[in-house]
């Protein structure tokens, strides 16, 4: 497998480097639309994505994972920070600074796969037009050439090219997600941002789409930023995992490391909350209590301390830094070194089961 760690082609730098990304939404009130507060949707997030790897971005709804993804796509402008992207030519550009016009030539290189396979395809367009639209926008005006390319793309995602004259309603959720993937791949992107691409799908269909994503990654040497909340899926597909809580990264590590030994109590709680498909494994009794902190008015100290079973005095007053706690393993917790948290099993130990 070309994507196995260690076998990767060494590149001069990461494909994507996000530095101190912030996205604040103003809370307005009254007639004059005075700004009374700010929702810190993304608050100082930094990470790298290397070429050919899959980084999982995990967290509960409202944690800022989708906002982060949208800033990278420049579907919205970040409040501050840098989004350094290595273009095909090898030059590094800061997507956060570019104007709409300057972004246009770069957009084909970063594409998105959406969560909802029903809402993300235009119901009035045939597959040919849905998948061919990005080609048309990017200058492939010849109808026959476009048709050829769409046929190739449909074949690539395991759909029959004969279907290209049909409309999306004729297809099931899983097939539509394949169409969405074909459309994302139309412009030969290097970075694919997948926002919950399988969470709307049934288990059996989910497996098919996950297999397709893995296969495409190997064939086309794609880089994925995989936004998801399902840790089972993330564990299966991601090489590195970043966990977000109230707009901040709280932990980031290789998948093997984070799943066998999480260092942040929030990550451990997330893992514990996932219902294990085995009745012999008792469900964790200590489910996380309380609710996610309000990003407009986060608590002092560590944002997680009101829900954290391990919180001590320092957690209530001093905000912890994201720091290295083990090789390649970052965590934002005062007690990361002393706590011994339970993951969902070491990956190697289960590798024998086929």
């Amino acid at each position: 497998m070309s994507s196995a760690p260690g076998a990767r082609v060494t590149t001069p730098g990461p494909l994507l480097e996000v530095k101190h990304l912030r996205k604040f939404f103003p809370v307005q009130k009254g007639f004059a639309r005075r700004v009374v507060a700010e929702v810190r949707a993304v608050d100082d997030v930094s990470f790298e994505v290397h070429e050919g790897e899959t980084l999982g971005l995990v967290g509960e709804s409202g944690c800022g994972k989708t906002t982060t993804a949208r800033c990278i796509l420049r579907a919205m402008a970040p409040s501050s920070g840098q989004i350094l992207f290595r273009t095909r030519g090898g030059t590094v550009v800061d997507l956060a600074q570019l104007s709409r016009k300057e972004l246009r030539p770069l957009r084909p290189q970063i594409q998105m796969v959406f969560q909802d396979p029903f809402g993300s395809l235009n119901p009035r367009m045939t597959l040919l037009d849905n998948v061919g639209e990005p080609l048309l926008v990017n200058g492939l005006r010849d109808r026959w050439a476009r048709r050829e390319r769409v046929a190739d793309l449909l074949r690539l995602v395991g759909m029959r090219p004969e279907y290209m004259h049909r409309f999306p309603h004729a297809f099931s959720g899983g097939q539509r997600q394949r169409i969405g993937i074909a459309r994302a791949l139309a412009t030969e992107p290097r970075l694919v941002v997948a926002d919950e691409p399988v969470s709307a799908l049934d288990v059996s269909v989910q497996a098919q789409v996950l297999n397709l994503l893995l296969e495409l990654q190997q064939r086309l040497h794609l880089t994925y930023l995989f936004v998801a909340h399902d840790l089972g899926v993330v564990r299966h597909i991601c090489e590195r995992v970043a966990v977000m809580y109230v707009g901040q990264l709280v932990e980031m590590a290789p998948a093997t490391s984070i799943f066998s030994r999480p260092r942040h109590p929030y990550t451990a709680a997330l893992m514990k909350a996932v219902p294990v498909p085995d009745p012999r494994v008792p469900s964790g009794d200590v489910a996380l209590q309380g609710e996610v902190a309000n990003p407009a008015n986060p608590p002092p100290g560590c944002y997680f301390h009101p829900r954290c079973p391990f919180a001590i005095d320092v957690c209530r007053t001093d905000p912890p830094e994201l720091r290295v706690v083990a090789p390649g393993h970052l965590a934002r917790c005062h007690r990361a070194d002393e706590l011994s948290l339970e993951g969902i099993g070491p990956i190697d130990a289960t590798a024998r089961v086929g």
Partner: protein
């Protein structure tokens, strides 16, 4: 017919489960939708039992008819759909047996049962609550409508009494500051609180049977864990029977005692949760379990998949509904005849020709 099939049991007859009489017995239920393009057989001969105080999990992928079947139990199937045949036998007490399938959906007797004896926790609490009435008022309304559930012989409950009960319920489902929250609107509550309020509403008339239709699908895992714990505690406390519908095998494993696996409107396999997960018999159940990306699978290696896709509803395959996708299908057998749900071993039932002789069937 040589052997007595599960679906042929008479209403009084008892099948398994320590000689208890089931609270709800569904027998050969068929629900079809009659649309212009043809007939969609959403539920096609469904049979199962729910015993008092039991949590029955019904698991299946979208389109398997699990939600339609539950709407049929509550007589909420809307045209062009209707119950074609079958019985839904409900026993509120040992002496009474009511066939819900025979009741008029809008009749007084069905309305006295719906919401009171059998309650529903819907999937989307946001859509289920009215946005223009406070959640407290909506629950108070339900309690006052079904006041006999609280005071069988006394006078109807007053608003104040019903409000008192609602506040108690809110406390039971772990809503802090219940008095204030009674006056909140559904859109002011977070997803977790909204689902708790929904559970309070479902329990507000002391139902004997609670139908939870994917109650945790729309919420986060941490909140899901809280809601599942809550349901488990309340179920133990009130000894309510629960039918828990989900497509999430993880949730089923953690909450159900007995599991029914559905595919295209039929039961493929049924049994105690441990047997379903550790000794699954039906090829569909086994394939479904294999396709979960979880602890049993090596990361980044292709998952075993179920080949093909769900057939179009108008295009039901002949014979066993799963045979076109089944890796163990017997040619000339599975594509010709429909297997019946029959016992395999002591506690499981499977509808698959791999386990039943053809002779015994015909």
């Amino acid at each position: 017919m040589t052997s007595k099939q599960f679906g042929d049991l008479a209403p009084g007859e008892v099948y398994g489960s320590q000689g208890l009489t089931p609270l709800l017995s569904v027998r050969g239920l068929r629900v079809s939708f009659f649309v212009d393009e043809g007939i969609v057989r959403a539920v096609d001969g469904l049979s199962f039992d729910v015993f008092p105080g039991q949590v029955l999990g019904i698991v299946g992928e979208s389109g398997c008819g699990k939600s339609v079947a539950m709407r049929a139990v509550l007589q909420l199937v809307e045209p062009p759909g209707r119950i074609v045949s079958g019985q839904i036998l409900f026993r509120p007490d040992p002496s009474r047996v009511i066939d819900l399938a025979g009741l008029a959906p809008r009749g007084a007797s069905m309305r006295a049962i719906r919401g009171a004896e059998i309650a529903l926790i819907p999937q989307e609490p946001m859509a289920a609550f009215s946005p223009v009435h406070s959640v407290g008022d909506q629950i108070v309304e339900a309690i006052r409508l079904h006041w006999r559930q609280w005071r069988p012989d006394g006078p109807p409950l007053t608003r104040g009494e019903a409000r008192q009960i609602t506040a108690e319920l809110f406390r039971d489902v772990g809503i802090s500051m219940p008095e204030q929250r009674l006056d909140a609107y559904s859109w002011q509550l977070s997803g977790g609180l909204r689902q708790r309020a929904m559970i309070a509403m479902a329990l507000s008339c002391k139902p004997r049977l609670l139908i939870a239709d994917e109650p945790t699908t729309a919420i986060d895992v941490t909140t899901q864990a809280q809601v599942l714990n809550l349901l488990r505690d309340l179920q133990r406390k009130y000894r309510t029977a629960v039918i828990f519908i989900t497509h999430d095998l993880g949730v089923i494993a953690q909450i159900a005692r007995e599991v029914v696996v559905m595919y295209l409107g039929r039961v493929m396999e049924q049994g105690p949760v441990d047997d379903i997960f550790h000794a699954a018999k039906h090829p569909y159940t086994r394939a479904l379990l294999r396709s979960i990306p979880g602890l049993q699978v090596t990361p980044r290696v292709p998952l075993p998949i179920i080949s093909g896709s769900l057939p179009h509803p108008f295009n039901r395959p002949r014979g066993c509904p799963f045979h076109p996708r089944c890796s163990e299908a017997i040619r000339g057998e599975c594509d010709e005849r429909v297997p019946a749900l029959q016992p395999v071993g002591e506690r499981q039932r499977v509808s698959c020709f791999l386990y039943h002789d053809v002779e015994a069937m015909s």
